[in-house]
Amino acid sequence: MPSRADAGTATIPGQGTNTAHLLRVVGGVLHGIGVLCMLLLAWRLFTPAPDRPMMASVTSTGTIDRSLGELLQAHRDTIDVTLDGTPSARARAELRAVRASGHTLRLAAPTARPALAIAAEQEWKASGGTRVQVVSGDPARQVVADAAGLIDSITIDSAGLRTRSGPLEGAVTVGAAAVTPLAASSPDTARVLVLGAAMWESRFLIAALEEAGWPVDAAVSLSPKVTITQGASPSPNRSRHAIVVLLPGAPSSAIAALPAFVRSGGGLVLVGEASRAGGLGALRAGMPGVTMRGEMGAEASDEPRHGLDLVPITTLAEGGVALESRDGRVAVAARRVGAGRVLQVGYDNSWFWRMGGNDAAPVAHRRWWSTLLSGLVPLRASAGGVEVTPEHDTLDAAPVAALARDLGLPVIRTATTVTSMPASFTASLDPRWLLAGALLSLVASWTLRRWRGLA
């Protein structure tokens, strides 16, 4: 039977065996960790990391440049941007630059915003007023209000567009959305210059515009050496004229000045055969086609412009937008050129609508022309302030449309989807931590082995 001392002696070797076993296990684990870190390090180094979606929250307050700058420092090919608001013109320019630099840009929005677009512009006409245009994919009733209170409710019909004109105060709200009306230029700079030959169209167009309250200058050619002028400046002058209306037979010297006039922000209306004038190819909204005669007697019908001769616009230029069609042919189209706008009106001899139309024809003719020209008056920001785009001397009047044009509309993703998007395992392995882990583990493993040997 072992003595107490034997028993004690017998106990001590047992304890030493357990400690050595424990040290051996720990050493083995550390060694394994070290080897694993080495293997992961090798895998991380020799396996290309997949694109890691880089998240950025872009607002319209101008933080996009800083956010994108930080992301681009990481040299990622793909950048995901979550829009939590409508990006400003500057933010869109930054995003365009990122895309142009070769990066894949993916836009997302956390929530589906209501498909509602509002444009509010002060109308340039003697009676004043603000034109509010609402476009919605949802045919619902919308409440219109201004700073003074509720005004009206409008129901968006199946066409999706409703226009309301009237005197409004301050910001205009439609539903939950609000816009600040853009103001037309002052009367001093909203003059219209009519260029053409002495003929009924120029005569009645000038009369209609003056009756609608537009200040009109005119240069009407009578012979190669005689031009009748009205107003102080018979040639396009951006400091005096907002819009030039070009009719057939205009003096060629005045036509030569039109490209610069438009690019510097002026509005140009090309009427009928005048769209064929030389030197205007870069300005036209589309190619003028073969002239079609109007339908006899239609000028007195409910569709009076069917009775007018038409120079159809056959092929729209880049950026051209059809505004009105007749029998499937584009009759009125518009496009932006530089900082200005060009409106191409295919109808010729519209004066006969005024003379030969029904009882409402004189007013309708006057109103139609005035409305067309209202869309060309350069706008300026009212007191609320609207950002001016850096590339154009014009207002950022349609930021959502510009976003869709330049970058495409964002994909709707819920917040959960966006935030839970996992980073890949490979991309999450940092080589520095792996190396440090491997070294520490192997050194610890080696130290334990040495300790066991000494013991």
Partner: protein, 202 residues
């Protein structure tokens, strides 16, 4: 679309008393300007909607003028919409039947006639007539009312002349064969150019 000189045909009187006038005015317009002018004039009934296709129309005669209801309505519509009617008394006689009846009809239909000042844009529209309407040989010869009329008369609509009324007898003055114009030392149809240019530009 070309400019077409239109002569108004009305039910009463002799609307066609100056058949060569249109050709002379057309000749003058083509001679002095580059206005795209139709080589032949048009004859348009005063009561017809077709009148609205000719925003400048010429009316003359010797005989009493009485407009029908349809003619009055169309004349009113024509002037309201921007048409310009040039009326000339072929008798050159303020006591004559044409003058009395025609001015009466015009006044009843459109309002009273008033003198057009001799500084009016009409007299500077193309050629300059510093003394107002040019005289005619019939005035200077003492025919008709034996008067040299200092002014034309007019009726305005929307700040523009809608009717120009003349007692000077341009119907006789301008009614000659166009071939004979070369014998004139000064073309007496130049004021016709002013009428056309004024109508087309004001």
């Amino acid at each position: 679309m070309k400019f077409t000189f239109a002569t108004v045909q009305y039910e009463s009187g002799d609307w066609d008393s100056a058949p060569l006038l249109a050709a002379n005015v057309i000749d003058a317009v083509a001679r002095y300007t580059s206005i795209d002018v139709a080589p032949a004039g048009a004859i348009v009934p005063l009561s017809s909607e077709a009148l609205l296709r000719y925003p400048l129309a010429f009316l003359t005669g010797h005989l009493p003028v009485r407009f029908t209801v349809a003619e009055r309505a169309m004349l009113r519509k024509y002037c309201e919409r921007g048409g310009l009617l040039f009326v000339d008394d072929h008798n050159h006689d303020v006591d004559g039947v044409f003058h009395k009846t025609c001015t009466e009809e015009l006044s009843q239909t459109l309002g009273p006639l008033a003198n057009i000042p001799n500084t009016h844009a009409l007299y500077k529209a193309f050629f300059t007539f510093r003394d107002g309407p040019p005289t005619t040989s019939h005035e200077l010869n003492g025919w008709g009312d034996n008067l040299v009329h200092d002014h034309l008369q007019g009726i305005e609509r929307n700040g523009r002349l809608a009717v120009i009324y003349s007692s000077k007898d341009y119907s006789s003055e301008w009614s000659f064969h166009p071939e004979n114009k070369k014998f004139l030392s000064v073309d007496n149809t130049r004021f016709g150019v002013n009428l056309v240019v004024y109508a087309l530009t004001r």
